[in-house]
Amino acid sequence: MRPNFATLSVACREKFQGGLGPLLFGFLLKGGYLLPLLFLWRALAQGGADLGGYTLPGLLSYTCASSLLAPLLNVRSPMSNWHYDGRLIDLLRRPRPVFIELVAQTVGEWVPTLLLYSLPMGVALTLLGVRVLPQTLWALPCLALGVSLGFAVDFLFSCFIIHMKDASWVAHAIRAAVTSLLSGAVIPFDLLPWGLGRLFGLLPLGSLAGAPLAVYVGARAALPTLAVQAFWNAALWPLAALAFRRSRERMVSYGG
């Protein structure tokens, strides 16, 4: 475990490389992005709209939890960036499995956000009357399976980026665009029109954020959600491992 903690600690300290100012500025913006959705939910509820089984407090909880737990709901290891700038080679030289190192690095990068944004913001929101704690303990295994699936999806995207060679930025942007809508991190699936929510909920990306958040706020039963998440974990992890094994020999990086 000690090497994992060493990597985790280095990753955590790296986040402060640019100083505390930019980090706090980023957190300020993150908090600011919450506002429009919170007011939108309030306006819809006040207008008597059918909120798809959600209550206003439930929707507020959903949006706030999505912001507080954002790094866990949309896992982004540094693998794709490191391939782009050549740092991935460092991992191949270390006497440790690449996946494990990437997981430790990613978790280390979460720490400043969780400590300096999620924790104080969670306390502030609680004082303002928004429930940020889960409605059920079943949310915890859902979250764990979501994080695990998030790493598998991240590794698959990273392998796609390796495959795209000099178009890695394009692949990166496509991933961000696709994930923002299909993961359910912004809008709960039950609020989407044309039955899209039911479809998105069954896709692998839907198990990353939409599913755990719905369980978190008590809007969905835990067991069927866990079953879907377990299925996608079982399906995508072997795929990710296979894709990475095949991608190792294809890595091309110029750095810079």
Partner: protein, 283 residues
């Protein structure tokens, strides 16, 4: 050299030159070019889709009906499309150029900085799709609203689009100037402004928010000027009792501040140079 005057004909020749270079890039690697174009469209669609789907499901949000919201989203996509069309190659994301030491390359060009920045980002062959998509969405929304735009209205639309573009680029340069002083910490500050601040907040109909938040989003963090305010004004509902030309005033103030900050930053940069070429690393 930097600081020399330049005529309109030269400016147009430079635009033609960068258009040719863009075409050459597309021809050299068509697969990559098409991928970039597709990505641009996908990104624009994804950023607007959440609010669009909500507006469709609830027949509008925050006092705007679904067609009003669609019009606003089309307008936002247009502004984003204009940013990409005229300010590609990190001209719009200027903090990257500054922090990566690429201003050094500009210093040896026989053209004023302003002319270089105005022309270098022109990408008419690989970056037209966002603007076209936005115009299409606006036309769809106007059809849904049963409005037939006249010449004067179209002129107003063009003017608002230019002002919104000026606000976005102005904010990017205003905050991007921080990268002269703190290149590592602020390398991505322009992306935070253009892609995050304006990319996220501009998509929301601010009518649903309390007055203080609306005012903040029209002044301190003017994301409302990229979509909500101009869309409301063009639909005949200028918000908050502000004059229809308020974006002109805001753009003027932002550009004044940006010019001041940029000049200060350049002076600092002239003394310290780029960190990119220090002995311990290339960035």
């Amino acid at each position: 050299m930097a600081g020399n005057g330049i005529g309109m004909r030269r400016l147009l020749r430079l635009y033609a030159l960068y258009a040719r270079m863009d075409w050459a890039w597309l021809r050299r690697d068509t697969r990559l070019g098409l991928l970039v174009m597709g990505m641009d469209l996908l990104t624009a669609a994804a950023s607007a889709s959440a609010v669009f789907l909500l507006a469709w499901r609830f027949d509008g949000v925050g006092g705007m009906n679904r067609w009003d919201v669609l019009f606003m989203l089309g307008y936002v996509v247009c502004v984003h499309g204009l940013c990409v069309l005229f300010f590609s190659n990190n001209v719009g994301h200027v903090s990257r150029r500054i922090a990566r030491g690429q201003f050094d390359h500009m210093m040896v060009q026989p053209l004023p900085y302003a002319v270089q920045l105005l022309t270098e980002g022109f990408a008419p062959f690989t970056a037209w799709q966002g603007l076209a998509c936005g115009l299409g969405v606006m036309a769809w929304a106007l059809n849904g609203l049963g409005r037939v735009p006249g010449a004067l209205w179209l002129l107003g639309l063009a003017g608002y689009l230019l002002l919104s573009l000026a606000v976005v680029i102005g904010m990017s340069y205003l905050l991007g100037a921080l990268a002269f002083r703190w290149p590592v910490a602020c390398e991505e500050i322009s992306s935070t402004v253009v892609d995050d601040l304006f990319g996220v907040l501009a998509n929301y109909p601010l009518s649903a928010m309390p007055g203080a938040v609306r005012m903040a989003l029209l002044t301190v963090a003017p994301a409302g000027l990229m979509g909500w305010f101009p869309a409301c004004a063009l639909l005949g509902k200028p918000p908050l009792g502000l004059p229809a030309l308020y974006p002109l005033l805001a753009a003027g103030v932002i550009w004044g501040l940006a010019a001041f900050a940029f000049r200060k930053g350049l002076k600092y940069y002239a003394k310290t140079g780029s960190t990119r070429y220090r002995s311990y690393g290339h960035r």
